[in-house]
Each structure stands twice: as C-alpha cells, then as structure tokens.
Amino acid sequence: MKLRLCLCLATISVVLAGAAPLPPARRPHYGGTLRVEIGATLQSLDPAGVATSREEADAKAELDALLYDQRGEDGTFVGTAGSGPFRLSSWEAGKRATFAANQDYREGRPFVDSIEIQLGRPAHDRVVDLELNKTDFATIPPEQARQATDRGVRVSVSQPNELLALVFLGSRSGKESTRIREAIARCIDRAAIVNFILQKEGEPAGGLLPHWSSGTTFLFPTEMDVRTAKEIWSQISPSPYLVLGYDSTDTLEQSVAERIVVNAKEAGISSVSRALPASGKASPGQVDGSTRGAAIRVDARLVRLRMPSPLPRISLTVFINRLEPIAGIVDSPVPQSASPEDVYYCERSIMNSGLVVPIVWMPQVYGLSARVRDWKQPAAGEGWPLADVWLDSTDPQ
C-alpha cells in the first residue's frame, strides 16, 4: 500500500543520464583496438611452418583461428588467410602483429576495429601489464592465476581441459615394466601438486577425461598409496633407476617432474628428472615421441594433452592417436556411436596398461582488462572468441 501510494504520488519520469559518471551501457558497440600479449615468439604464420615449442604451436593455432574461417578434418586451418574474422595487417616476426577486422566476414565484422598482438612477453610481464592496464587480453599460466587475482587482475578460468600426464615410453615391456609403472602411479601425491604447484587451480587426475566431460572420473582413483608402491617396488629385482623427462621450456612440467621424483624417493624408488629439448612439432594435445631412441635415455616423460572437444568420445580418440607413437598404445578406435560405457571401457583399458599416468587437470586462464566486454570462455577445442568481444571505451585509460 505504501509503495502504491508512493507510485501514485510520483510521476515516473525518464531521468536522462547526466553529468555523474555512470556504469557503462551493455549493448555492444563497434570500434577500438584490442591489445593482446602472448608469450610465444612466433616467427611465421605460414601454415606450412613448424613451431619450435608447444607454446608456439598453441599460440599459432589461436592466431590461425582468427585468420581462417574453416578447419580441415585433421583440425588444421584451411582456405585463405583473412577468410576468418580478422586479416593480418602488419607482421614483425617474433615481436608484434596487427590484425584488422574483416568487414566481409561471414558472421558479421568483429566489434573491435583491430587487434594489436605483442609476442614474446614473459608470463610475469603479462600479469604486470594487465595490472597496469597496458594490455586488454593475455594468457596466464594456471599456477599464476591466484597470484594475478590477488593483485586485482580480472581473471577468467575455464573448466579443467588440459591433462598433464606421465607417459611411459613404449620401448619397455613385460611384467616387470607393469610393476614399475604401477609403483610410480601409486606414489604420486596429486593433491599436493594441485595445492602447491598449481596453487589450487586444477584437479587431481585419475583418468584420461575430466569429470565435467565424462562423469566417470570417480571410477579412477587419484589417492597416493605409498605403502603399496613400496611393496610393489620391493618385488622388482634389480631395482631400475628411472629417468623422467620434461620439456626444457616448460617450468610447470619441471616443477611437477621434480615433485614426482621426491614422491618416488619416499616410496624407495630411485629416479631423476631430466630436461628434454622442446618438442617442436607439438600442437595442442600433441606430444613428441622424438626422445624414443634418442641419446638421452628417458623412461617416461611428462606430456600435456589439451581436449579438442567437450565430448568425451572425441577427446579420447584424439588422445589415443597422439599417445600411440610415444607409448605404443594399441587400442581399437572409439566408434562414432560409442556409448558412455564404451568410452569408459576404452579409457579403463588404457589405464590398466599403466602406460599413461594422469597427474592433473588444468584450466586455461585468461587475464582481461576492465573494458573488455562479452568475453566468454571458449569451450574445449574452440579458439579465443575475440570477434565477439567489444570494448567499453575505445580508448585505453
């Protein structure tokens, strides 16, 4: 009644937005330059060019997604550069690139006029630039996400969609090798890796697919079991000395490898971690089997596998294809019509082989400036949706 009276007395009027500063409008508008920083020092955007590290391969795939409209069956981009939402307008190898909005893009021109990309910015500098509002968009390593948030950076975290796993090279076989693999798998303290190395930005992994995708991860244990690991190891005679490899350019892999060595020692397992040359041909989800038979002896190496799709069947198929050259996994392909049960049993069979030891699931983390609007986390397998974002004010403050 009180409210009614109030409404009766008052004549509603439209109050024009006046001098007082008001929060921004929400309807998208066109214009402005999006400033992007990435860590990779890309030398070329040539589709035939080979990236020299995983970071480069990842960055190239993201930039290709801005330039090309279509992908081929193998996931690589096809067609003409510039058929995508943006066109390359300037390129300085390893340093910077400028993309201009494609006015004729099939789905309508992007909201921003252009994207300025600074290449080769280290992770720490990217976070500082976000903090100082010197950039609008940058990737942040998951292990630095918490720190960035604490420093006031606007952070966007995806569902965990990248698996870090220890993959045993397929050269060893026999019962002894199965025991070695089982002992290692049981001694790893995944929770500690998530809590301390990843700063809680991730999940312990027991299977090849994350829970949000398959719904079956609880069927794959992740708990550390040092006692059983010790018991298994004591049955192996003579005890081998294990060499665990990691990508020399990847600080996260190095920390995880060193942590596994510490865990292994607690279980009485002798091992050492060793840096390996960067796996140049790797692209998202790919691993390089070049260490097999190389001069550096390695028993197992850490690999990152990024999901190409949210759908469990598709991701598992791609993972199997990419692990096969390293681990020698022989498994029948997951059929098109595979049920969740088929996918589970396929995953179970790989886990039972012990050739792949899942460690952690990690998210993709992005830092954004306050003026970036309509940013939506890309789903697994999707590129950065930079054509959809718009800038609240076209001039950076």
Binding site: A10, V14, P23, R26, G215, P310
Partner: protein
C-alpha cells in the same frame, strides 16, 4: 471354529492385496514424475545389472548423487530401480545379508546424465552405465508487491529480432504470431494451444552480415524493418506480405536516450502504462554482459526505485520493448543453457 481359519485367510488376502495396490500406486507415482526416457534408461540399467548378476542374487543398494539431480528425484529413481531389479528376480537386501554390493552413482557428463552401477563382490568389479539427456531448466519467478510475470511465447535457434501477436484476445478469431529473425519473417496461427506455421517470407540475400543486427516490427502499419531489408503487407493476411532489399543499412531502432536507474545508465527499457492504479512503470534488464543470466525488474517513481522483485531470465535480455497499449512488454532473450532465442511477454500484476 472352522470359520476362523477361513476368515483369517480372507483377511490376509485382502491385506496383501491392499499392500500390493499401495506398492503399485507408489511405484506408479514415482514413475509418473519422470520423463519416459528416464524410466526407460533406468530399466536398461536394471537389465545391465541383471546381466552381470545371478538370478535370485541378493544385492545391497547404495546410491550416490554427484549430478544436478535433486534429492527428491534421486529418491524416486532409487525406488524405481529397486522395483525394476525385483522384476528381474534380483533381491534388494541389507548390506550384511547381501551377496554383492550395488553402488549406483547418478553422475553428469558434457552430454547429459550418466547413471553408473558398480557391482562389488567376488573377484572382479563390474561397471555398467546408461546415459540420459538432461532436461532444460526454466527460470522461476519470485513473489513481490507488484509481480512481474514472464510468459514464454516462442523459442527457436535463429536469432529473433522482434515478434508480436495480432488478434490476441479477440472473440472467436485466431491469433497470429509474427516472428522476425535474421533470415525470414514468419507467421504462425494459433492452433490447439500451440502455433502452426502459416507462412515464412525469406528476407533478401546478399545483405552484409552484422554481429549485432536489430530489427523491428510495426504490427499496425504492417511493416518489418532491419538493416538492408524491409517487409510490408497486411500482417492479418500473410499471403500479402513481401520482403525486399532497401539501400539503407542503418539500424531501424530509433536511438533512445539512456535513462538513469539507481545510478546506472540503462539503454534498453520499456515504459509501461500504469497497471495498478499507479503512474507508469519502467521495466529494465540487468547490467551484466551478454554472457550472463539476466533479470527484468520494474521501477517506479521520479528517481526510479525498485517496484517489483526481479524475475530471472536464463540468459541476456537482447530486446525489451513496450507492447501496443503499454500493458506489457515483449522480451527477446537468449537462453544460455540451451542456446536458443526466446520470445516472451512480461506483464505486471497487482497484489491487493
């Protein structure tokens, strides 16, 4: 004396019959509350459990829910599963007297629900599972002094630019729903509490695609406008409507002055006529991005203050326009869960 056993038998029979009826009724109620694909999936799960257990085997059943299913749904599903297992000659017992333990987990994947049964006992562990599509959830409204109601009229995959209903409420006559999207202007006739397509007029091709294209319907004038195209005709008679290219590519939306509501600038709003003996009300949506769920709220007063509780919309409100007569507003939104565009009418009711 001879009558006593007979009487006892008769009573026992009636009691058993009543028990059986009660059980059947409660089972029927449990089954009735679920969509058919859920009950079918549960039956399939029972088949799979039966295939890996022995006839007459006693099972203890433990249920875990790690999905978005409600506790009530899980209880009902458990009850149905137990019945399904009994029909397949599997006895459900307490843990201490069971031959094997059945652990059922209601989980969820990127595809939908996954219902998993682990049969623990003996040498090896058996795992069987079924998948079920997850239903879409609709937003609910809250009670308020002035209450807003959102009625979903239409939903489709293609982006809805505007919509309207002609002939609504007219005695005897059927209504026509007109939907303007990025590709066509469609006319639907009301039929059996639904809408049936009467005619769709394609918009001319070759228009430059726009990421934030807007369009507008003027039902009285029989006109639909969007950048690069225009449709005209008598909307009561869809067969008279034609669409053609026009040279202007300007946004047909009349630029509107933003208004200030509770310290924020609002560009999209609809001013409704006084519904409850009051002066007009302004409906406005939230301030979030188009990546977030949204709300619509009514504001009144010279310095507009909230006059209703917000009603939740499961995605961004893309268009909010006053309907002819000013008694309600038409809303176009995008449901973020399903990805479809929704056309709905928001009206105001008064609490006495």
């Amino acid at each position: 004396m001879r009558l006593l056993p007979r009487l006892f038998l008769r009573r026992a029979f009636i009691f058993s019959l009543l028990l059986a009826l009660a059980a059947a009724s409660s089972e029927g109620q449990a089954a009735a509350q679920f969509p058919p694909d859920w009950t079918n999936a549960l039956g399939l799960l029972a088949d799979k459990i039966a295939a890996v257990t022995k006839r007459g085997e006693g099972l203890s059943v433990e249920v875990k829910n790690i999905s978005s299913l409600s506790a009530a749904d899980v209880d009902g599903l458990r009850q149905l599963l137990v019945t399904d297992l009994s029909r397949r000659n599997r006895r459900v017992l307490t843990e201490s007297s069971a031959d094997a333990a059945l652990q059922v987990t209601f989980s969820e994947s990127a595809d939908g629900y996954v219902w998993i049964a682990q049969i623990l006992g003996g040498d090896k562990e058996n795992v069987v599972m079924v998948s079920v599509a997850a239903p879409n959830h609709r937003a609910s409204t809250k009670e308020a002094p002035l209450t807003l109601h959102r009625k979903l009229i239409w939903e489709q995959d293609a982006k809805i630019l505007d919509f309207g209903i002609l002939g609504e409420g007219t005695a005897g006559g059927s209504s026509t729903l007109i939907v303007l999207d990025t590709d066509k202007l469609s006319f639907y006739r009301s039929e059996d509490k639904g809408w049936k397509l009467a005619r769709a007029v394609d918009l001319p091709h070759g228009r430059a695609a726009q990421r934030d294209v807007r369009g507008r319907l003027d039902l009285q004038a029989g006109k639909a406008e969007l950048p690069g195209a225009e449709c005209t005709g008598d909307f009561q008679h869809p067969e008279t409507v034609t669409c053609s290219s026009i040279t202007t590519t300007a946004d047909p939306e009349t630029p509107r002055q933003p208004i200030a509501i509770q310290g924020r600038s609002v560009q999209d709003y609809a001013v409704l006529a006084g519904t409850c003996g009051d002066d007009s009300l302004t409906l406005a949506s939230g301030t979030g991005d188009w990546t977030e769920p949204d709300f619509i709220q009514a504001y009144g007063g010279r310095n507009p203050s909230a006059a209703s509780q917000p009603i939740q919309v499961p995605g961004p409100v893309l268009e909010l326009r006053r309907n002819d007569g000013g008694k309600s507003a038409r809303v176009v939104s995008r449901n973020l869960k399903t990805g479809v565009y929704e056309a709905s009418i928001v009206s105001v009711s008064c609490d006495d």
